[in-house]
Amino acid sequence: MTAEPRSVLRLEGARFRWPGQTDDLIAIDDLTLEAGEHLFVRGASGSGKTTLLNLLAGVNTPTGGTVQLLGTDLADLSASRRDQFRADHIGVIFQQFNLLPYLSTLENVTLACAFSARKRARAMEDSDVPTTARRLLEALNLPPSFHGAAVNKLSVGQQQRVAVARALIGGPEILIADEPTSALDAENRDRFLELLFHEAEAQHCTLVFVSHDPALADRFSRTIELRSDTDDARSGRADVAP
């Protein structure tokens, strides 16, 4: 692969506060993530984890500083272009309830291609979109018997794996996961993380993983910690060497 010297993620003096707030909810002075690195964001509830994810996904824009993804400053884009950027380059996994109850398992995965021509094109490189989706589901230990099933027939762990498949289809550069294991027991959590890492590596995808659980930090090359006392929210300080 030709290595492009382009940061996947770059935050400089990024600040965010809601209108009317006096303190910054997010204050990250410098954070750069190169391709292949995975970031663990640790923080207790109320520490601004969710806000940070919204900034990274382009749902909100910083009130100060810059947030760059793949060399693009999200603040330069219009709201609908930011949405399109997210559709094309980012996969998102929530804590739970990632899936639309009125679509089948397979349809939930292919849905990601409905809003992105880029993902659709990349999912069709080898075959068609449903076949790619099936391959991803099987790689995530979801055999074909589940593919046509209603998603509410699946266990929570299975649902989260479907969410991973949807986040990964079409090869986004960045995968944002917000406490995706919080609804899983320890055993399931470890298996889930194993699969998540494996598939992210296979797709050359940078993982940004948010959790309150410090026990997971070991698996990541980079870690930042958000403190609920927002003035102390620092980036880089808690970096762990790979």
Binding site: L53, N54, V59, N60, D83, T110, L111, A112
Partner: protein, 418 residues
């Protein structure tokens, strides 16, 4: 997977709520279209009470009054037309035919009308439909009568039965022409016009029952039915007459000449124009009905708005998921609009279906009871614009929840807590 499919599947998932909304809208649409249909049918039925008659002529009076007594048998003529005047006008060369009518007597609440057998040839209603005898034949003898469908039906008369005509319009024992009974020789088919409620006799019959009457009472000298037949039964006057012209282009000229007739003050009216004028005065009720059904529709649309707003809460997660995979503001708003469009279109289709179902059921009953023929015609342009208005209106209304949904999705961001 396009947005329409997502909207469709999402709506199907929440179908219980939405079906109720579809039902509400269907009822409103049925009501609105139904009122419009009834309004049009009753209008065309009224306007078609007389057809192919170019002029109606009577003694000088207001056009509506002349129309009411000559066609609808409502009210009375203030004056009669002398037989000489009638003969004089009828002989004018522009006139193709005339049918004299003589009113004033009644039979158990139904008006008795004296006329000639030409009436059965020239009186037409609807779109040029002639009178048809359901049974029997036209009157021929002086004491023959032909009954309208309602008269025979309501009073249970059959061919051959004898009936007694009352003098004037109120049936009372002392004022009956009971010495000269009439024999039912024919019964007409239902027409949906005042003909159904009329007892038809010959002009000579009217004359015969009045030969021994003077000033509304029996004269001292009485003549029995047989004796009356010996007299000359040519009437001295008639109430009005219907006119058909050789050439319709002459209508206004003939009308003016009759209105300016010097020997006697006369009025000639154009039945179509006077009927239309008459309709305008009584159509207020229908307009009120139409406005009310418009309000019913607005209530239906507000109900839909309420339903959609209440479903937004349970759709927050759905919208957050769609936003996370890149759905834009326009997608979120479109999703709500598409759902509304689906619901309203389903409501309109169901409403139209309900309307035609009801029409099919009501048609035989309505035709039998009123003679109004509810035509099973396809929706006309007004009704199609009503439907289009409903759909456009609903879509505009749905912009409100659409925008609310999007603004909420911005607040919620990606990590919506349960």
């Amino acid at each position: 997977m396009n947005l329409l499919r997502i909207a469709f599947k999402s709506a199907r998932f929440r179908r219980t709520n939405l079906l109720l909304t579809v039902f509400t809208i269907a009822i409103s649409v049925t009501l609105l279209l139904g009122v419009d249909k009834i309004r049009k049918e009753s209008k065309s039925s009224l306007l078609n009470t007389v057809s192919q008659t170019d002029l109606i002529v009577g003694a000088r009076s207001s056009p509506t009054n002349l129309l009411l007594y000559s066609v609808f048998r409502i009210g009375n003529a203030t004056n009669n037309v002398t037989w000489e005047t009638y003969q004089d006008i009828a002989s004018q060369e522009e006139l193709a035919w005339t049918v004299p009518i003589s009113l004033g007597d009644s039979h158990r609440g139904f008006r008795v009308m004296g006329t000639t057998t030409d009436y059965f040839d020239f009186y037409q209603y609807g779109n040029g439909r002639a009178l048809v005898l359901e049974e029997g034949e036209r009157f021929e003898a002086v004491y023959d009568t032909v009954l309208g469908a309602d008269v025979a039906n309501e009073l249970g008369y059959d061919i051959g039965e004898e009936i007694v005509i009352a003098h004037g319009l109120v049936s009372a024992d002392f004022a009956e022409h009971d010495d000269k009974p009439f024999t039912v020789v024919g019964i007409l088919d239902k027409t949906g016009t005042p003909v159904d409620r009329t007892v038809h006799v010959s002009l000579a019959g009217i004359e015969a029952i009045h030969v021994d009457w003077q000033d509304g009472g029996r004269s001292a000298v009485t003549l029995n039915a047989e004796q009356a037949l010996q007299l000359d039964l040519t009437p001295t006057s008639i109430t009005a007459f219907l006119v058909g012209l050789e050439n319709r282009a002459e209508t206004f000229r003939v009308q003016r000449r009759i209105n300016e007739y010097s020997a006697e003050p006369m009025s000639a009216i154009l039945p179509g124009a006077t009927l239309a004028e008459f309709w305008r005065t009584i159509s207020t009720i229908e307009q009120i009905l139409f406005v009310i059904s418009g309000f019913v529709l607005i209530v239906g649309l507000l109900g839909m708005l309420t339903t959609i707003l209440s479903t937004l809460n349970e759709r927050r997660r759905e919208i957050a998921v769609l936003r996370s995979i890149g759905a834009r503001a326009s997608h979120v708003i479109s999703l709500v609009l598409l759902e509304t469009l689906l619901v309203v279109t389903a409501g309109c289709v169901a409403g139209v279906g309900l309307l035609y179902g009801l029409l099919a059921l009501a048609r035989p009953v309505v035709t039998r009871r009123t003679g109004v023929n509810l035509a099973m015609t396809w929706l006309d342009s007004t009704q199609l614009s009503i439907l289009a208005g409903v759909i456009v209106g609903a879509t505009l209304v749905a912009l409100i929840p659409g925008i609310i949904a999007y603004r909420r999705s911005i607040q919620d961001g990606l990590a919506l807590k349960v």
